[in-house]
């Protein structure tokens, strides 16, 4: 296990360093002078230079990169150009919305997808299977932001059960917070659960054809007993891999869905920072999202190995 873990850790660190280099290159070096971008094309050269000196942009790029990376490790992300507040505070505040939103969406996705996928596999080629597969094909084709708009039309405009957007804050009570995040989470989950249901179904069907399933049935274990006792654990391997990738998609998806519901999360912060030309906030948020994606995939790799010991063996 230790060699496996060590190799994975090295890959994780290398990927994070690579990602930070790309983010820094694209958002710090490529734009040329961030002070110019911040002040607009009409600003006087003196003013631009003064701001560049104030923001430390006149120092060599490698020094700035090192400062940024070491700052990230100590939680000091610099000051936002637009708000003049520490970026770390801005980001931490927004994470309290985005992370619960992504987790809620992932929970809804898993519940719907596993139930639908296992149901479809158990009724292979029957009406239930065809129905689930047809619905999932439609679910994959629906853009999540359009589904979000449809949910607002139904539940906010017509039924008036939910507000059409905004977030009251967790201090108003956990239930109020969850209620405000429910429609956004459902709209994020619908596409992902359609994809995951198909993967679950084919993984379960694949395992159902294995010899050990036939043996279990021959020994007199019931269909349901075989499914729960033998099939599911083995079918979970591809399902968990895809779930890891999906969590990454969900995090990226929050950028769009938070805009639909006017939620003050990380995605909306990125979006507003682009309008404010606040590149330092964009850079840190993009890096944070990319790091979350990479770390989630790292955890999935470890889970994968703990479910299926063959993965470790083949890797060493």
């Amino acid at each position: 296990m230790s060699i496996f873990l060590f190799k994975r850790l090295i890959t994780l660190v290398a990927t994070l360093i690579g990602a930070s280099a790309v983010v820094f290159l694209v958002l710090e070096i490529l734009p040329g002078n961030a002070a110019q971008i911040l002040m607009g094309p009409d600003a006087s050269p003196d003013a631009v230079q003064a701001l560049a000196a104030k923001l430390g942009l006149d120092r060599p790029p490698l020094e700035r990169y090192w400062d940024w990376v070491s700052g990230m490790l100590t939680g000091n992300l610099g000051l936002s150009y637009a708000y003049s507040t520490p970026v770390a505070e801005l980001v931490a505040e927004r994470l309290w919305l985005t992370v619960p939103l992504a987790l809620m969406a992932m929970t809804i996705t898993s519940v719907i997808a596993l139930a639908a996928g296992i149901y479809a596999a158990a009724r292979h080629n029957k009406l239930g299977d065809v129905g689930v597969m047809g619905l999932s094909q439609i679910g994959i084709a629906i853009p999540n932001f359009w589904f979000a708009i449809l949910l607002i039309l139904l539940f906010s405009v017509h039924l008036k059960w939910f507000s059409a957007g905004g977030f009251p804050g967790w201090e108003e009570g956990i239930l109020e917070g969850i209620k405000a995040l429910l429609l956004p989470a459902v709209s994020l989950a619908v596409v992902q659960s359609a994809i995951l249901a198909r993967i679950t179904r084919s993984a379960v069907l694949e395992v159902l054809r294995e010899d050990f399933v036939r043996t279990a049935r021959a020994k007199g274990v019931s269909r349901t007993g075989t499914l729960w006792g033998h099939v599911l654990r083995n079918a979970m391997i591809p399902v968990i891999t895809i779930m890891g990738l999906q969590f990454a998609e969900l995090l990226a998806g929050t950028i769009v869905v938070e805009s639909v519901f006017y939620l003050p999360g990380l995605g909306r912060l990125i979006f507003q920072s682009i309008s404010n030309r606040d590149l330092i906030v964009v850079r840190n948020c993009v890096m944070l999202l990319a790091a979350m994606v990479v770390i989630v995939n790292f955890v999935v790799d470890l889970l994968y190995a703990s479910i299926d010991p063959r993965v470790k063996a083949s890797d060493i």
């Binding site: 290398a14 694209v26 084709a141 853009p143 932001f145 990454a248 999202l289």
Partner: protein, 291 residues
């Protein structure tokens, strides 16, 4: 591990293929929907019911009628005409972005497979690394630097496609490299480049076509999301994503405006996905039987 030989391989082209294809439900429905998408875009160059650019505030927010099939928007423009012209943006972004991913990704995948060793390792690690940046995230980075626009959206979605194509190409190409006919070609003294072009590429083409179709659908979704955020296609060029963002502000007055562009996106994506599924079954019937 060699595959079990099939007694009579199914045709992948010619009249027999098309007979099989038309009888395949997913393929037939997918082909019809995809064809409709292309026809809508082509038709918009020759004819639209009304001008999609002309603003007439007296005609704003009209309900669907015989003259305005899907009604009019907040500027009095005909929604049906906007939808027809909007198909162009989806197709252009899809075709160019998938081509970038297909060409670069396939080249990297073929190189990795032909060279093996550290070249393969490097390319594949770079591809893994590419997965850290979903399309929206790379589009946001480009937009933050170069400003919003269709070209930046295309580049972002294209870059996002490269690792996927590289991975799939390498996996399929490795399988071809282990076949006997490649061994025979090597024994004849052919070099890696000509084996790749003459034997490997033609044998993985079907996998790439299927993947390109599916990635096309994903590109349409990504373009719609970026345009919805205002980072993709810019006005006055109509796009389905932006129509939805404009409709959202009028949900209480004209809820239908938020319905039609979404249906257009969903049908286009559904069509391409079904077409991809159908093509995969037709190219590899063993897979279809297993499913």
């Amino acid at each position: 591990m060699s595959a079990v030989p099939v007694a009579t391989p199914p045709p992948t082209h010619g009249p027999a293929f098309w007979r099989r294809a038309l009888g395949h439900r997913s393929f037939a429905i997918g082909a019809v929907l995809s064809l409709l998408l292309v026809l809508a875009a082509l038709l918009s160059y020759a004819w639209t019911p009304h001008s999609p650019y002309e603003i007439d505030m007296e005609l704003k927010l009209l309900p669907p009628s015989g003259t305005y099939w899907f009604g009019t928007d907040a500027y009095g423009r005909d929604v049906a005409s906007l939808l027809l012209v909007g198909a162009r943006s989806s197709i252009v972004v899809g075709v160019v972005a998938v081509s970038i991913g297909l060409i670069a990704g396939t080249a990297f995948g073929l190189l990795a497979s032909a060279r093996r060793g550290w070249v393969e390792e490097t390319i594949m690690r770079l591809a893994d690394f590419g997965f850290a940046f979903p399309a929206i995230l790379s589009a946001i980075m480009l937009t933050a630097v170069f400003g919003p626009g269709m070209v930046n959206a295309i580049i972002a979605i294209g870059i996002y496609n490269i690792p996927t194509f590289a991975r799939i190409t390498r996996a399929s190409a490795n399988a071809v490299w282990s076949r006997e006919f490649v061994l025979a070609a090597r024994a004849c003294g052919k070099n890696a480049f000509s084996i790749t072009m003459e034997h490997v590429l033609p044998n993985i083409l079907s996998v790439l076509i299927v993947q390109a179709t599916i990635r096309f659908a994903i590109a349409i979704l990504a373009e719609a999301a970026l345009s919805y955020l205002g980072l993709g296609t810019q006005p006055p060029q109509p796009s389905w994503g932006r129509m939805l963002s404009e409709a959202q502000t009028l949900m209480f007055q004209a809820p239908l405006l938020a319905v039609f562009p979404g249906i257009a996106i969903a049908l286009a994506v559904l069509g391409l996905n079904l077409l991809g599924d159908g093509l995969r079954d037709l190219f590899d019937p063993r897979l279809a039987r297993k499913r």
